[in-house]
């Protein structure tokens, strides 16, 4: 485990919702395939696979990704094999660290059924509700529509999965109101934020290239604000993310109030091992442990 040597001498461990994690880093849902897990051993404090849905989804036709300045727009359309096949394959994600599972339905009932299904499995440490995927025309989108919808879904999921920590993943639009709603409906933590709805155009062909969600370093300042605003509003912990690219970025999100930090798009262009190593260097210089950093803005 190449990471180990580079991160000795600092305390990277954090605790959230009664779960102890060896590092505060978590892969953002949909950005780490099981085929790539070998590359990141020791980096993440928990694993979080791509969102799963009640039935298999083929996803959107290509092109699905477009490069943008310091970022990318994706329109995957939640391609996944459906919750049953996903659960059959769950051991593939076992890296010896807690496993979080992301779910999305098109109705409140779907969400609740998914929560029940995945939370009853002993291998699942927590459930993340993807309330914000901008690529699903029906369903997903409606759940970012406002606090009332968020409250309804989270309430149903809370009842369906009473024993497992429940995270509500929110977009940046209206994030504070939605965060309050999710908290009061019983979410144990909030994930802030998902991609930002965006569009790319191919000027040469005069056609739309990809309509989807913007992610990557470009969105970092927007995500930092969302995390900061939410962390000052709610009492539950925050999983922060959006554009995290370096160890310094990890520190920034924790300072803004995040307890865990999600690394997504940047893992396509950097080795997450480096990000953790840089974060360790930051802590060493600051003379702090990871857990002390949350909200420690002066």
């Amino acid at each position: 485990m190449v990471v180990r040597e580079r991160v000795t001498g600092v305390d990277l461990s954090v605790e959230m919702c009664g779960i102890t994690l060896s590092t505060p880093l978590v892969p953002a849902s949909g950005t780490l395939a099981k085929e790539a897990l070998g590359e990141v051993e020791g980096v993440y404090g928990a694993i979080l696979p791509k969102t799963t849905t009640p039935a298999a989804r083929a996803g959107n036709p290509p092109p699905r990704v477009a490069e943008t300045p310091a970022g990318m727009v994706n329109s995957i359309g939640l391609q996944n094999p459906g919750v049953e096949r996903f659960m059959e394959d769950l051991d593939a994600f076992d890296l010896g660290v807690p496993l979080f599972v992301s779910v999305a339905g098109e109705t409140v009932r779907d969400f609740a059924a998914l929560c029940e299904r995945v939370s009853e499995d002993g291998r699942v440490a927590a459930v993340e509700l993807n309330l914000s995927c901008p690529n699903v025309e029906h369903g997903g989108l409606t759940f970012c529509a406002g606090p009332a919808a968020v409250e309804e879904v989270v309430t149903a999921c809370r009842a369906a999965a009473p024993t497992k920590p429940l995270f509500a993943k929110l977009t940046h639009e209206g994030v504070v109101g939605n965060a309050r709603a999710a908290e009061s409906a019983g979410a144990d933590a909030l994930t802030v934020m998902n991609t930002i709805p965006a569009l790319t155009i191919d000027a040469k062909r005069r056609s739309v290239l990809v309509r989807g969600g913007l992610s990557g370093p470009a969105v970092k300042p927007v995500a930092l604000k969302a995390v900061h605003d939410v962390a000052r509003t709610v009492r539950v912990p925050v999983l922060g993310g959006g554009g995290v690219t370096s160890g310094t970025d990890v520190a920034e999100f924790m300072l803004a109030g995040a307890t865990l930090v999600q690394v997504g798009t940047a893992s396509f262009v950097r080795d997450p091992v480096e990000i953790l190593a840089e974060f360790s260097d930051y802590l060493r210089e600051a003379g702090m442990g990871a857990a002390e950093l949350t909200g420690a803005l002066r």
Binding site: G30, T31, L32, A33, K34, E35, A36, E39, K50, A56, A58, G59, P61, P62, P63, R64, V65, A66, E67, T68, P69, A70, G71, M72, N74, I76, Q79, G216, P217, T245, S246, T265, A266, S267, F268, V269, R270, D271, V273
Partner: protein, 244 residues
């Protein structure tokens, strides 16, 4: 994704394309596999943001080479790189090789010639007979064919070789038990059509990629019942798998 900064061993122009080579200490490179490459990434820069996929052009004595066409900003910057570039380890699934299947036809369209060099080398090493057919827009891009001894060439403008597409330069593909092709997706579809359903028909596809290691689900191609990721299940597919 882990990127390695490698020194450029050699850089030369093959007609309209650029060839760069670097020492790759890893395992032997299988024909048809690719790398994600860029001039530089973080901390030097986050823009252009994504690395670009390139097939291996060749691999000999521990030196790997890439052949590329300057299209946009990423390839322009690669073309300017003088000292180092950043590459991943070899990725994806390459060409299946079946020594018992018989004579092979290799078809390349434009910069799609890239993986045919290393494929031809491997076939020769295994004593497998093969013919190479290369199609280009014009004589400028066709110049790379000099690096493919014995290849038949076609150009769309007739300025070199046969006037027409790569299929116009090739005999009836049905006569080949094995057909390999790489080029624009439209050409691959035409090859699939012309090569018929029987025998080993392998196409190296070209899709926009985010990650290159299966993580983003960005690079999919349509198959029966859905989409599969061309970076891990491809970029080389059996023709019958592709729902084109």
């Amino acid at each position: 994704m882990k990127f390695y900064t490698v020194e450029i061993e050699a850089r030369r122009e093959l007609g309209a394309y650029t060839l760069i080579s670097y020492r790759w200490p890893g395992e032997k490179v299988e024909p048809g596999r690719f790398v994600m490459a860029r001039a530089a990434g973080y901390p030097v820069t986050l823009d252009p943001f994504l690395a670009r996929p390139f097939s291996f052009y060749d691999f000999e004595d521990g030196v790997a080479s890439l052949l590329f066409e300057v299209r946009g900003r990423g390839t322009a910057l690669l073309d300017r790189a003088t000292r180092t570039v950043e590459v991943t380890a070899p990725l994806g699934r390459g060409f299946e090789i079946d020594a018992s299947a018989g004579r092979a036809a290799l078809l390349g369209g434009g910069i799609g010639v890239a993986p045919l060099k290393i494929l031809g080398r491997e076939l020769s090493a295994r004593g497998i007979d093969h013919d190479v057919f290369l199609g280009f827009l014009d004589a400028g891009t066709a110049a790379v064919a000099d690096d493919f001894a014995g290849a038949s060439v076609a150009t769309m403008d007739g300025s070199a070789g046969t006037h027409g597409t790569v299929l116009d330069a090739a005999p009836d593909l049905l006569e080949y038990p094995v057909v390999y092709a790489c080029g624009p997706n439209a050409m691959l579809a035409a090859v699939k059509d012309a090569a018929g359903p029987d025998g080993l028909r392998q196409l190296s596809v070209e899709e926009r990629m985010g990650c290159g290691n299966g993580s983003c689900n960005g690079c999919v191609v349509p198959v029966d019942g859905g989409y599969v990721r061309s970076c891990v299940e491809g970029p080389v597919f059996r023709a019958e798998v592709l729902a084109w």
